[in-house]
Symmetry: C2
Subunit: 253 residues, 2 copies
């Protein structure tokens, strides 16, 4: 059966995460139910990453098998017509038989947004973490400079199913100021542990507040001890920005 | 009694606009009820502009009288502790007796955001108007160049109470591209008619689509005929960005 690759954007506020759960609204559940209505058969959707409850995505990627004869453009339109407004299919095309949204992914980029001002922001509250204490972005970047490379990230998260190892490789980690009161943390890696980005952000914020030095951040990383890391930053600031693949040839029939 | 000036940010999604309405949630109602709890007496709040249902504000300005002996900083904290997360007081200070949030305002700036891409955006849906047809921003700016100056805007809105005149003076009107798929219309004027910004945006979008030329836009403006204007753009894309005053001395007691 033909295989399709879909790029998805969603507002995770009202979902219990990506992964299917009995009796709870999840993004995977919403998409599978729409595909079942369109295709007339139960359809399993495989996502590149299992975003947690409340986490957003700008470019989650998924694959599914479908017997559909009207072209991917019409399937995309049908999905978006039936999906709720907090989920969109941004792109859809037929892909190779051996493509797998999770296994074929070379790297992923997550973006974490912090509203750094004294008063909370009603207009950004759903998509940022409000940190009222002044943060030193330069110190946070100095700490984040320890992230690129291959490390055991046991201090920052738990293994995902399938691989007991907590070693992951990061490619880039940067802190940027955006407008006068927003700090944006962007991290790209070949794989991530559960809660890893939120735990990294929680710890970087301790550095930004001056409660921890950038060298202490390195010690936490080396310790492999989760009790040494900062608090886990809230889900709403996190967004799965994009999933990167080697270019797979698009199949056109 | 001392007079206070407050700068407010709010997400208008769940409110029936600024102005107090019986049995309906409004921003003014939410703030008055919080002030009544803090001050122990009913307190009337006067806003600079009556934002319509669903319209947001980053810098609505309001004034009220209060007998409060603990300083504006503590009053601000008390308000924010009691207000719901979709309304914040961003600034609060004591002002002159003759300050009036609406009458003393010299000008206001509104920002209207358009998500201009084929697929709607779950992450921007609450704060933008989704226009799937490609828009020509340069043509829209050419049309918007007719706005600065003093004109009769009867084609774009109805008079607000108190002044039957539909003549208003615009200071600046610009269209900017923001990221790859966002168009932002910013307009500053000394006063606005009801629905005026949304009606201007609806008409500018007709120009952007190529359905109307920039010179037609000028004809609509000159006609004073609302039936010639484009549709009224949805409330959710509009934000009262800021209200500008001549500098009033802050009173410190």
């Amino acid at each position: 059966m033909p295989k399709y690759k879909a790029v998805l954007e969603y507002d995770g506020t009202d979902y219990h995460g990506w992964q299917l759960q009995k009796d709870l609204p999840t993004v995977q559940g919403a998409i599978e139910s729409v595909l079942a209505r369109i295709l007339g058969v139960p359809t399993r959707v495989h996502g590149a990453g299992r975003t947690d409850a409340g986490v957003h995505a700008r470019g989650q990627t998924a694959h599914f098998l479908a017997d559909w004869r009207h072209g991917p453009e019409k399937l995309l339109r049908a999905c978006n017509a039936l999906l709720p407004p907090d989920i969109s299919v941004r792109g859809l095309h037929e892909t190779c038989e051996d493509f797998h949204a999770r296994h074929s992914a070379r790297s992923k980029t997550y973006v974490y947004s912090i509203m750094n001002r004294e008063i909370s922001s009603p207009l950004h509250r759903l998509y940022t973490w409000h940190v009222p204490h002044a943060l030193d972005a330069a110190l946070m970047q100095e700490a984040a400079n320890h992230l690129p490379g291959r490390h055991d990230f046991a201090a920052f998260g738990s293994p995902t199913d399938g691989t007991p190892s907590t070693v992951r490789a990061m490619i880039e980690a940067r802190i940027e100021s955006c407008a006068s009161d927003m700090l944006v943390f962007t991290i790209t890696g070949t794989g991530f542990l559960r809660y890893m980005v939120r735990s990294l952000v929680g710890t970087l914020v301790e550095v930004g507040k001056g409660k921890m030095r950038p060298s202490d951040f390195l010690c936490v990383l080396r310790s492999g001890d989760r009790s040494k890391a900062g608090p886990t930053a809230p889900a709403r600031g996190l967004c799965l920005h994009s999933v990167h693949y080697e270019s797979y040839p698009r199949r056109t029939r």
